[in-house]
Assembly symmetry: C2
Homo-oligomer: 206 residues x 2
Amino acid sequence: VFNNRVKALKKALKKQDLRGRVVAAARAEIAEKGLAVIKARDVADRAKSALGGIYTVFADLDAIVLAVNQDSLDALDQIMTEAVAGVDDPAQKLAKLIEAYLSFARAEPFLWRAMFEHRLPEGVAYPVSHYEALARLMAHIAEPLRDLRLGESEAQRFTRARTLFSAFHGIIWMSLDDRFTGLSSEELESELQMMLEQLLRGARTA
Amino acid sequence: VFNNRVKALKKALKKQDLRGRVVAAARAEIAEKGLAVIKARDVADRAKSALGGIYTVFADLDAIVLAVNQDSLDALDQIMTEAVAGVDDPAQKLAKLIEAYLSFARAEPFLWRAMFEHRLPEGVAYPVSHYEALARLMAHIAEPLRDLRLGESEAQRFTRARTLFSAFHGIIWMSLDDRFTGLSSEELESELQMMLEQLLRGARTA
DNA sequence: TGTACATCAGTGAACGCGCGTTCACTGATGTAC
DNA sequence: TGTACATCAGTGAACGCGCGTTCACTGATGTAC
């Protein structure tokens, strides 16, 4: 009989369920308290699993964090895709992308920071999917650059996209560092906007 | 007799000596291995002090790291001061400042990163001297902005200086992240240069 | 200069705790007849 | 449908280690006479 199939499937589903609960729990923990204080016990409790249970679906805590960050990257991809939907002007697209990025950083500051703060132990490489997700984000930025004729080759535009991303990311990142206090929400937005305008104007008149 | 004075001084000098050795040891440890793996035992060993000895000159490990970072900020101030010495053109000054910053980041990547990676425990504030050192760095950038007539008030120029700093810092920071590989040394420099040129051109034609 | 005593900077073994990971067990689920 | 046995996902107590910090002690330095 194919009853075996049904059984195996049921088992796999249960495993998937636990896995999903663990990732969701880890995400909630990070979102509330930050990556720095994430604990295996807190994740297990929140997932309504025994401590050992999480090790039946993930190799270690790093793998769980990686899954959370992968989800964040995917969410960011989605948000950026939606941000430029229906927008034609490439300069406007860039503005929308920055706005979308900022809104994500603000809505989920801990999840956002976790993507950049997390480090794998020395010598351990990130999974390919991680790099792919990052490349997808860069592609969002590279696309309007093509329309603006900034960068001749695909490779050049990717380099430029990364530079732009790093610059705007840096501005937002610093703005929430305690040691650089004093930048209000409106100031930050106007600084980002001014930066983009100047860059585009400078590039156009080159 | 004032023999007491001599004795007290001698004692103070010895204390200063130990303090100096501890900071130097901590700096060497961070410079070699990075902030993430600094250990009280390694610092004590390197300073040729017993483990408990470091606690006679510093309250805790955080205070030691803070002293190292303060030194780094001071070194950066010095480097930036030298970078613009004898330069008149404000645009050129900004280029020199970026160059100087990059050279520090490259010469001492771990010390450089430590300044930004270190976090004090929740609720503990940084010493005033730390903020002052940061303000001094910003002042280096704000000065040429005045000559370029970018920003009307002192406060505006400081905000702009911080934005510029964050942007360039962000580009350099990301360039050494494993997950964003593929940017050669020359590419990084040309990206920084192009960024500055575009910003200045865009600001001028505003 | 020499001796007996006092001080306290510096010592390092021990404390204490946090926390990731393991593993001997168990009870829920499935199988055989 | 019912009973005896097998499997193994999930349990949670225990392991093990790292490491910041403490504190009872000591020997180097200073003081008194």
